[in-house]
Amino acid sequence: MQLSMMKRGQKGRILNIDHSTLRIEALRFGIGIGQSIECYEIIPAGPVIIRKGNQEIAIGRELANAITVTTL
């Protein structure tokens, strides 16, 4: 499912990022395919905030739609 459909507190693993530039930019931020993340906060129709380790990253809704995850 898409990252934007996760619920607060849910954990998941990134399966795919469907956008070439964003895939590169995400890697710089430490988000890569195959990594596990936690959905920390989700703003209604807005960005999704994920947690990876101690790091929190806000991801705009469009980008969150382009990221496929599987829940753990």
């Binding site: 590169i24 101690n54 990253i57 991801i59």
Partner: protein, 663 residues
């Protein structure tokens, strides 16, 4: 040096080396830069960009500060500049934020992969410790193959060690996959840095070398990420000591239910501090007393009496006349702008250092997306309420040209600056609640609809928000003061020449009588179309000189309530002050800036006139009804416009569309 990139605007001395200072945004790079270089700092503009390049001397060598970046793959101007600095540097100082090392080490490894000698500076090591992050820097140095220096830049700790270490820097351990790939291009006679960029598919490098290789960017990036993640796992131990309160507040601020009231509260506090205390009391002192009563009489008499320059001559008018270089420019910049801009930057620094800004950007992202911007654009928008010229400068932080374009236009059009706001508030106090509402709602409506039209018609897509959210922490007063002083200084340095140039232009217009001619030319528009008294056109022209002059000029005209709203709305939407126009010309290509400037005239008169006509039509009804009907009209026209634009623009978004739909 023979490099396949834009040469730096510097001269290379025989026995001096270039040392590039590279790091992610907000890692304390500039503090380290100033600590290393002391006084000999030079600024030059990087060819083809609006970016400034700071460079200073450390003994014989030159330290070059590069823009804050997350990587250097030509994604934007900052990355291109950083790339060219890196390629041409002899050695690299990589500043890393120890509290955010997972993210920052990726850039470190990227730099090591260029084959340049690198020294890693672990900045904010004290804060990292407080946050429970233990970094084994010796082990890290061993893994990376380059020296690692622990530094607390703002306290000056570790700077001497860094200076010593600089002499012993060496090349580090290259990511295994890069080492392998480099073998494929080993026969090319270019530096390893260029080879790396070639492998990563950097367009301008491959163009200049005229080589086409399949880009390995993603493969290299993925492997580098894994490689770095493994190093990190080895050298870092974490205890989760993030303060509970900080975490709770941090989380609450992102949620609309707490975040929006907090934002409103913050804006109110800012208004009380900046709009009331600074803009009235402090500016009253600096502009009224220091400048008006002490400086101005002194400087005027200095020129007219000591230097015997006739105050009415052309030279006298240029220097100390009404809009003179030594009178208006100096008084405006130091009496009015300095305290205002400083207090705005003070708030900004507090927001930045406390970790509030990224949360605010996240919170408002959804709303900003509607007008073709992402959450980060909230910063220039808020700053615009202080000074549009300052805010226009700040749009440099936005990700794409498209966003800069939209943000600069909206700033020029619909954001009233603090100098104007003060007059607007005092004038609106006389027109009652309904009409005041009318003014603000129409203004916001224009902001939204123009933003939406730009979003729909400009090529490309709004970039998605992607920012990391640091933990909330107490800002350090020293740091905040330093930051806001540096920014204020930087702003004054950029803007003062523009104000001076603007003052000269206005003086020229005045001496040649063109000012009156323009004012006469505008008269039919202001009198017939906007229904304002004759003197209003002069007030409008004054609005170009200084936005607040324009609004203040209206003060003396004894307008009716309707006339006040029409005039205020027109003058708000009307061109920004002359300094901000010049700033727009500095930041945007000339043609685009011209279009922006003229279209603000068009929009302002169109909206002002329409408002006047509509309200006049329903003048016999009660005030509330008038306002409702007028707003109803504006809203329906906006919706219609939006629909028409939406129907006609088949937006050329190629890559965005597939995932846009899936929402």
């Amino acid at each position: 040096m023979n490099c396949h990139c834009t040469p730096l605007p510097l001269k290379k001395e025989a026995n001096s080396e270039w040392i590039a200072l590279v790091g992610n945004p907000n890692v304390g790079k500039s503090v380290i830069f100033h600590a290393l270089t002391n006084i000999y700092v030079d600024v030059s503009n990087f060819p083809g960009t609006t970016l400034d390049l700071y460079h200073g001397k450390l003994n014989d060598d030159i330290i070059i500060d590069s823009p804050g970046i997350y990587g250097f793959s030509s994604f934007n101007d900052e990355e291109r500049v950083a790339r060219d600095v890196i390629i041409q540097a002899d050695r690299i100082i990589n500043v890393v934020n120890a509290t955010n090392i997972e993210r920052d080490l990726f850039l470190t490894q990227h730099l090591i992969d260029t084959g340049k000698p690198v020294v890693v500076v672990l900045n904010m090591i004290d804060e990292a410790k407080k946050l429970g992050i233990q970094i084994d820097s010796q082990k890290l140095a061993k893994k990376l193959g380059v020296p690692v220096v622990e530094v607390v830049a703002i306290k000056g700790i570790g700077i001497e060690t860094l200076k010593k270490t600089l002499k012993t820097v060496k090349t580090g351990q290259i990511t295994p996959i890069v080492a392998e790939q480099l073998k494929d291009v080993c026969q090319m006679e270019i530096s390893q840095a260029e080879k790396l960029l070639l492998l990563e598919g950097d367009l301008s490098i491959s163009e200049q070398l005229n080589v086409q290789l399949t880009s390995q960017l993603e493969k290299i990036y993925t492997h580098r990420r894994d490689y770095v993640d493994k190093i990190i796992a080895d050298v870092i131990t974490k205890k989760d000591t993030t303060s509970k309160i900080g975490a709770i507040i941090g989380r609450a601020l992102i949620r609309p239910i707490y975040g929006i009231p907090f934002l409103v509260l913050m804006l109110f506090v800012m208004y009380q501090v900046i709009g009331v205390y600074v803009a009235q009391d402090i500016v009253g002192l600096t502009e009224g007393v220091f400048m008006g009563e002490i400086y101005e009489p002194f400087i005027v008499s200095l020129f007219t009496e000591t230097f015997k320059i006739n105050g009415d001559s052309i030279l006298g008018t240029v220097l100390v006349g009404e809009f003179g270089l030594f009178t208006m420019t100096i008084i405006y910049v130091f009496g009015l702008l300095l305290p205002l801009v400083f207090s705005f930057y003070l708030f900004l620094a507090i927001f930045e250092d406390s970790g509030y800004l990224p949360r605010l950007a996240t919170l408002v992202d959804r709303v900003m997306q509607n007008i073709g911007l992402n959450g980060r654009a909230i910063i220039p928008m808020i700053l615009g309420l202080g000074c549009v010229t300052m805010a226009t400068l700040t749009t440099r932080l936005l990700g794409s040209e498209r966003e800069k374009r939209i943000a600069i236009y909206l700033l020029g059009l619909a954001i009233p600056c603090s100098a104007q706001l003060a007059v607007i508030f005092s004038l609106l106090a006389g027109v009652g609640v309904s009409y005041s509402m009318l003014y603000f709602v129409v203004l916001v409506l224009i902001l939204v609809i123009v933003g939406q039209i730009l979003d729909a018609t400009l090529k490309g897509d709004t970039t998605s928000l992607l920012i990391d959210i640091p933990p909330m922490r107490m800002p350090r007063p020293v740091n905040v003061l330093k930051k806001s002083s540096i920014k204020t200084f930087h702003f004054l340095k950029e803007a003062t020449p523009l104000f001076a140039l603007g003052a000269m232009l206005i003086t020229t217009l005045q001496i040649t009588g063109l000012l009156d001619k323009i004012s006469d030319f505008l008269k039919p528009l202001t009198v017939n179309w906007l229904g304002l008294p004759e003197g209003a056109s002069t007030a409008f022209i004054m609005g170009i000189v200084r936005r607040d002059f324009g609004a203040a000029g209206l003060n003396d005209l004894s307008l009716t309530a309707l006339q006040t709203v029409v005039a205020l709305l027109t003058i708000t939407l009307f061109v920004p002050c002359i300094a901000s126009i010049l700033m727009i010309f500095k930041e945007r290509p000339q043609k685009e800036a011209l279009i922006m400037w003229f279209s603000t005239f068009f929009v302002s008169f169109l909206v002002g006139g329409t408002l006047f006509k509509i309200v006049s039509l329903v003048q016999h009804l009660s005030e509330q009804l008038q306002v409702l009907i007028t707003l109803g009209f504006f809203i329906s026209v906006s919706l219609l416009l939006k629909f028409v634009v939406g129907a006609f623009s088949n937006k050329g978004s190629v890559q965005g569309d597939d995932y846009k739909k899936s929402a």
